[in-house]
Amino acid sequence: MDGVLRPGFDVTRIRQDFPILSAPTPRGKPLVFLDSGASAQKPRQVIAAMTRCMETAYANVHRGAYNLSEVATESFEAARGAVAKFLNVADSREIVFTRNSTEAINMVAHGHGRGVMRAGQAVVVSEMEHHANLVPWQMLRDAGRGIELRVCRVTDAGELDLAHLEDLLADGRVGLVAVTQMSNVLGTVVPAERVVALAHAKGALVLFDGSQAAVHRRQDLTALGCDFYVFTGHKLYGPTGIGVLWGRLALLEAMPPLYGGGDMISEVTLERSLWAPVPAKHEAGTPAIIEAVGLHAAIDYVNAIGFDAIEAHERELTEHAMAKLSAVEGLSILGAAQDRGGVFAFSLDNAHAHDLSTLLDRAGIAVRAGRHCAEPLHTRFGLDGTCRASFGIYTTIEEVDFLADALGHARKFFA
């Protein structure tokens, strides 16, 4: 194995950046980590940046008039700037730091859904949403504010049914289309530009859950033209505890804040308070300072590799996996979208997903088993659960081969 897929993308060198990939394992077998879609591993550049922040540049932000607090504030705001650049948006005030994608979606469901949307309006989600982009909208529907929830179907191939989306938009009452940009189960990459065009034509705003997509594809929100976008740091090789809500400035300004507290106010009396300008209004309390620094380092890390190389590597892995896994007897892969990324949910005809994941674990392969926080999607395809392999920048062709080989052995084991 030379590990070199192409000039500029040296997967062997990339793997050396991730200490956990060479850490000792319980049975001495190399870790084959195929659960990056749930949470990715961390490169030492991210670990070092966070350690450095704590060891040399840490204090609370936006408060102290002393040097250390100013230094910490600078690094925190630099992270915001890096996120804005990462998403290609011009105004970093439109970047709100959250705990994760889930919190970001809840902030929109609360702030925009309850504070701005009117009775009689509807929200559209799809059948392939992660629970994070379904439950907050169910809560909004059930809040007694007359907001309807509509669900766009997914085709048998696992693609967003755009004809159905058009039907759902037809009456002009949809205020917001909130859909995933890439399914965490099917690997389907949604035609985002088309969704924006259809929604905007009917006066609806668009929120994309970019939790998976932001890791695998370059994002340019200025070109895409959506209205809200969320993603999370820990899937992007960054730390847990930090996510991002991007929204158009006017939308973020119109949204009432979800949380009240310090840092989000401009004036407080015992009777009332005035909100601080965006984004501070939406960032009550001490933020995840160290994690923001870690996210900045993660963005620098993937930018240094470059999305051209990341996308090409993933395309090669995905095509290879499709061919290899399709050849495993008795294995079915969920979804067959034309445009798909490195996420494969599958089931064996003679083994339950949990039995299968226990076997694969014994071979050192970490896959997820269950419904992957997308129970309605499994119901739609008539499945109790599946195993899921999801790839990261450190995933190799050899690991995919090893998975396919292990699945063949597993089928014999349960025969």
């Binding site: 339950h352 997903a353 949990h354 039995d355 076997l359 071979a363 109790d384 659960g385 080989d405």
Partner: protein
Amino acid sequence: MFDDLRDLYQEVILDHGRKPRNFRRLENATHHARGDNPLCGDRMELFLAMEEDGKIADAAFQGRGCAISMASASLMTETVRGKTPAQARALGNAFRGLAMTGTCPDCGAELADDMERLSPLSGVHEFPSRVKCATLAWHTLNNALDDNQEDARSE
């Protein structure tokens, strides 16, 4: 490749997992309960028919789940027949201990034969995330005996 997993997936388990015994509805059931582990997707419905002397005359189940959960339910329906509710509960307690630790030091002579039959499941104690698969049926049994119509859970 997986030979060392034969301790967990013994032939008895694979056999009962593939062809669960007493896998049917009991039309004359006097007790009934459901078990559901929503995170992993194991679910089952348990039926008991009690005799007038208070013993379990028949036990059967239906459901879907992994080999461990199906085999455990299958073996349970075989072992609880002829037992009083108190005996069945005591066996369930002993089994949960076996599933969690791999041994049952306090199991007396009266439980020895049944524990021997259930012992192929003792391998789960080395797989903390799978213990719940083996114990779901026994939690469901307790709910059936208590006439508790809430779904039993073990996760």
